[in-house]
């Protein structure tokens, strides 16, 4: 079925309004456990969609997401936490001067968190994106661990391994899913544009992309910096959701989770990243069952720490080996939904006859 643009636009607006109503309903009626889970889902969606822009669409391979998130989290929290709160947190090594008195509203602080992460991405990108090969993977991998190390060591800035506690909770479903929606729309529009075609050309064949006049460095950098920015935003939302943050949260294993999501959702598939990203965050919570002891029909099953991640890692390997295009073949679009619907209603009609 072919839909004209005006109709599509109207449908889009309806969908967005519906989405806002849904989020408002959830924010008001859901209990704290579910809202927290839904917030985590949104953060996973932002991180997954943005790493998909780098690793899925433009064919680079970055492992820096945990590092960019750490930067976003720390940079923003340092800006919106009140001087009093900082004093309480930095009880071992006092915080250095300008940071000790600065306080700005949380929203600009989040955006600055994203911008600082983007700047870090830009600096990392300069040596890596000029040369061909897989150097980006190895440099971002190191970068992400180095960032953690620096956070642990510069106590007068980051409070070291102690992290922050009692961070005010600004993140709610409106903000988290608002950012998630913005990220999805932004990246979807980017990849559907001429720039997106250029990125896909680079990932398809660098030599011919360059011969067609595409500046490889500039476009790779564009994808990488944007990915880092949204990772920074995802990170910025974290401390003010969890109300606490420490460097151990941002281990390389966090990046592996996002890689797992885009593998299962499909490299270069946004729908997949959104659905699997949410499902992943939820199942992380559900799979806690595996790690806590249980009594089942008088049979006591001991909880095994680490079992969750083992299950997930086996899942990743299975998907990459047997369905390396991911679990979703199709991006969800209005056309697709309508054709699905018409097929379904046809079936119903046949049954009635």
């Amino acid at each position: 079925m072919k839909l004209d643009n005006r109709k599509k636009q109207r449908l889009n607006i309806i969908a967005v309004v519906g989405f806002i109503l849904l989020v408002s309903w959830a924010q008001i009626t859901w209990n704290p456990f579910f809202t927290r889970l839904a917030n985590v889902c949104a953060i996973y969606v932002i991180a997954a969609v943005s790493i998909n822009l780098i690793n899925g669409y433009s064919g680079q391979f970055s492992l820096g997401h945990a590092g960019f998130m750490a930067i976003g989290a720390y940079a923003s929290a340092l800006l919106y936490m009140s001087p009093e709160l900082k004093e309480v947190n930095y009880f071992i090594t006092p915080i250095i001067w300008p940071l000790s008195v600065i306080q700005i509203p949380f929203f600009p602080a989040w955006i600055i968190g994203g911008l600082v992460a983007a700047l870090a991405g830009f600096i990392i990108g300069i040596p890596c994106l000029r040369v061909r090969g897989d150097y980006l993977a190895i440099v971002t991998y190191g970068f992400s661990e180095i960032i953690r190390f620096l956070i642990c060591n510069f106590q007068s800035i980051t409070n070291g391994p102690l992290g922050f506690k009692g961070v005010p909770q600004y993140t709610n479903l409106w903000w988290s899913w608002g950012f998630a929606l913005f990220t999805v729309i932004f990246i979807k529009r980017l990849i559907d544009s001429s720039y997106g075609r250029a990125l896909r050309a680079i990932s398809g064949d660098e030599v011919s992309a360059e011969a067609m006049g595409i500046n490889l460095f500039k476009h790779k950098m564009l994808a990488f910096v944007l990915g880092a920015f949204f990772a920074g935003i995802a990170g910025a939302l974290l401390p003010s959701l969890l109300m606490a943050i420490d460097p151990y949260y941002f281990q390389i294993i966090l990046t592996y989770q996002f890689i797992a999501i885009i593998i299962m959702g499909g490299l270069g598939n946004i729908t997949g990243s959104v659905i699997v990203g949410s499902a992943f965050a939820i199942s992380l919570e559900l799979l806690r069952v595996l790690e806590t002891p249980h009594v089942l029909f008088t049979l006591s099953i001991p909880g095994i720490p680490g079992m969750r991640m083992l299950v997930i890692s086996i899942l990743i390997l299975a998907v990459i080996l047997f369905r390396h295009r991911g679990l979703f073949g199709q991006e969800i679009s209005w056309e697709w939904l309508f054709s699905l619907f018409s097929r379904f209603s046809q079936k119903l009609r046949f049954r009635h006859k």
Partner: protein
């Protein structure tokens, strides 16, 4: 710095450098043939330690034999990982291969947490390695002395395998030009298995010596040495075995000397390694012995 301490540092640096070299070779030969960063290599390194640990802990087999068996098991593990995890994706886009390697690394680490437990374990090794030898009035732990010797023997063995055997020839051919080698009748599957076997074997030797130097093992112990070894391979020029040795030696030596001469900076040694990597990529992206590009 007294002379005896200096000698000790030099030996230490040489030992650590050669350990990095052994691990770096595994990265570089696999990359040379498949253009794949084997992210699981650091975890293969970790598994070798646990093989020795449980062999010596649970069975009455003498430690030395355990170590040899563990090397054999690690080789088997490396070959199996390639066979199961990487071979089906040969010819798929490169990103798929990298994802498989990440998945494999993720799997091995979590497997180790579940099966071996996440808490650090003391690595047992024979007392002989701790014995202090006095040479020309300088006190040296036996392991400090043994490490470089074993590494050099392993490297000589590698040199023999690569330059004197038919498989080694096939490996070099595949590394130079994968497709041509295949057309010329090189059995690619066998060659790649052989390559993973060699890489894993060297990593296992490195792992056992490493654990004897720093006798605390845990499931993530391979992560950072693995990254530094890969960095060494990049600095030396990825794809080149001599480069990996030079790069490994450079990083190991640099790390030990930094700690020796600037103890206050010792905490930042990994940051310096990272800086060296960045500078290498900026100034000479093909590395010291770069053959590619």
């Amino acid at each position: 710095m007294p002379f005896s301490l200096f000698v000790q540092n030099v030996l230490n640096g040489a030992g650590l450098g050669l350990l990095y070299a052994l691990v770096a070779i595994g990265y570089t030969i696999v990359y040379g043939i498949l253009r794949l960063i084997n992210f699981a290599h650091g975890d293969i390194f970790m598994m070798a330690m646990f093989f020795v640990y449980y062999g010596a802990f649970l069975t009455p087999i003498p430690w030395g034999i355990c170590a040899v068996l563990a090397i054999g098991l690690t080789i088997l593990l490396g070959v199996t990982i390639e066979r199961v995890g990487y071979r089906p994706l040969r010819g798929a886009p490169r990103v798929s291969g990298l994802c498989a390697a990440i998945g494999m690394s993720f799997f091995l680490e979590n497997f180790a947490i579940v099966v071996f437990g996440g808490r650090p374990k003391p690595f047992l090794y024979p007392d002989v390695l701790d014995k202090v030898v006095i040479i020309a009035g300088i006190h040296i732990r036996a392991i400090t002395f043994i490490t470089p010797v074993v590494c050099v023997v392993a490297l000589l063995g590698l040199n023999y395998l690569i330059h004197r055997t038919k498989m080694g020839l096939a490996m070099r051919a595949a590394s130079r030009d994968f497709d041509t080698a295949r057309v010329m009748g090189v059995d690619i599957n066998k060659t790649v298995s052989f390559t993973f076997g060699i890489g894993s074997g060297l990593a296992a030797i490195g792992a056992i010596l490493w654990a004897a130097r720093y006798p605390q093992i845990h499931p993530f112990i391979g992560v950072f040495p693995g990254w530094k070894a890969f960095t060494a391979a990049v600095i030396g020029g990825i794809g080149s075995i001599n480069g990996a040795i030079a790069g490994g030696f450079l990083i190991g030596f640099f790390t030990i000397m930094l700690v020796a001469f600037f103890p206050s900076l010792s905490g930042y040694k990994d940051v310096f390694v990272f800086v060296i990597l960045i500078v290498t990529l900026l100034l000479k992206p093909t590395g010291l012995f770069g053959e590619l590009e």
